[in-house]
């Protein structure tokens, strides 16, 4: 199989945008999309709780979302084989008028009163994007781009570079308090208060607002564009640091380590799939980024 290409969302042709949106709406119509929303809610296990963490606050944040994106991409391709996931480089495409938010792609921000998205294919009035799995009781998609009440900016090139520069994939205790390591710097959990305490990936969820900042963030299709860029950053980090830049931990934490049984090591199975992080480290045979 020839690897397919994931493109920068700002380079999509009008036809590519139309086919991507069309495939998303069809996956939603088939009832498959809401299962992705539920899966993400279910696998969001916080690190102050007991149990295996796979999707967040854990080393497997990156491979978990890589496989999650592939599942969605396969669902889209069952509808239209020409479709691939675009990515949103939020270090370059930084405004509410940026490429993701165009009328023929994801539409714009929500209205002030209830954050309801009013434009584009995912606006409630089109009747094709009814929210069924949510923390809030409206069945419309919500956004608050840039956070009007308390504005914040998207992460900068420098913010992202600070993560990419770390040569170690992840460090003990392998959670949201790991002060070093590429994974947590990219995922974006900091300590203390204020804007410095949420970075990169987390900060982008916050900048989009509405559904994207809550547990049901997958309801906003920008979730996939955001995470495709996060996935690209993992590849970039591997290229930058060479063959030694491997997923960690290589082996499960020792007996007596509080993280034993709570994180997935390189050769352990990553639920809900029968795959290991090791098997997900190299995507070059499946897709590449342009």
């Amino acid at each position: 199989m020839v690897a397919y290409t994931r493109k920068d969302v700002s380079t999509l042709t009008r036809g590519e945008r139309r086919r991507f949106v069309g495939a998303l709406l069809e996956v939603k119509r088939r009832g498959e999309y809401d299962e992705f929303v539920r899966t993400h809610i279910e696998y969001y296990v916080s690190d102050g709780e007991k149990g295996l963490r796979t999707a967040h606050m854990a080393p497997s944040f990156l491979p978990w979302h890589r496989r999650f994106l592939l599942d969605l991409e396969e669902a889209l391709q069952r509808v239209d084989p020409s479709v691939t996931l675009p990515y949103w480089d939020w270090t370059r495409d930084r405004t509410t008028a940026g490429a993701p938010w165009s009328e023929d792609l994801l539409g714009g921000t929500g209205r002030p009163f209830d954050q309801r998205v009013m434009t584009g294919p995912f606006a409630y009035d089109n009747g094709e994007w009814i929210i069924r799995e949510s923390v809030t009781d409206g069945d419309f998609l919500t956004r608050d781009l840039g956070r009007r009440r308390e504005p914040l900016s998207l992460p900068t090139r420098q913010d992202l570079d600070a993560a990419l520069a770390d040569p170690v994939y992840d460090v003990s205790p392998w959670n949201s308090t790991s002060a070093k390591g590429f994974r947590n710097k990219l995922e974006g959990w900091g300590s203390g208060r204020g804007p410095g305490s949420w970075r990169n990936h987390n900060r982008v969820h916050r900048w989009v607002g509405g559904h994207m900042v809550g547990g049901a963030s997958v309801n906003d299709p920008v979730f996939w564009l955001h995470h495709a860029f996060v996935d690209l950053c993992w590849s970039r980090w591997q290229q930058r640091h060479g063959a030694g830049a491997r997923y960690l931990p290589a082996r499960p934490p020792r007996v007596g380590d509080a993280q034993r049984g709570q994180v997935v090591a390189r050769h352990e199975t990553l639920p809900p799939w029968d795959l290991t992080p090791d098997q997900l480290e190299d995507h070059s045979g499946v897709y590449r980024y342009a």
């Binding site: 809401d34 299962e35 929303v37 539920r38 809610i41 279910e42 696998y43 969001y44 296990v45 916080s46 690190d47 102050g48 709780e49 007991k50 149990g51 963490r53 606050m57 496989r67 592939l70 002030p112 209830d114 954050q115 309801r116 929210i131 799995e133 923390v135 809030t136 009781d137 409206g138 069945d139 009440r149 959670n175 949201s176 308090t177 974006g188 959990w189 300590s191 208060r193 305490s197 949420w198 987390n202 969820h205 916050r206 607002g209 900042v213 809550g214 547990g215 049901a216 963030s217 199975t269 639920p271 809900p272 799939w273 029968d274 795959l275 997900l280 190299d282 995507h283 045979g285 499946v286």
Partner: protein, 157 residues
Amino acid sequence: MFVSREPQGPEGPRACSGTRRDALRALCVSALALAVVPVVAAAWPRHERGGDEAPTFDETYQGRRLRGMKADAGGADHLDHMAQALRAPLQGQWHVTVDGRPLHLMRRADGTYLSMVDHYRSYPTALEAARAAVDELGPGRRLTVAGGEGGRGGVHA
């Protein structure tokens, strides 16, 4: 490479954290408990604003009623009794409501809290996480009756 089974739907078996499942089930229970809350409400100890370390809070913030109780807080006897009857949550877990609707909080390893409304940063106390959730909701949005777990509890948007 990358060959895997699909994630399975609710009807299929799933290799998933039992803790999370339990937490979701617990949410349904707390929704049930809240349905009978008027009887119990008077027994909740009141605490002044700013009592962030207190095991309970009850305040109006941005026009919303915020109430919270830590599971191991020593409440009135009949409340303890009811909590046990409804399968008591884990020690240290908070039950928080906004206008009577459950707001599920999660704990971070550093002891801070995040809510289902605001999932990508955390707050030093449960009360601050609840206030931040109200800020995030704004004037025009409410929590679902089922709390934070979406469709698993059978209550849809």
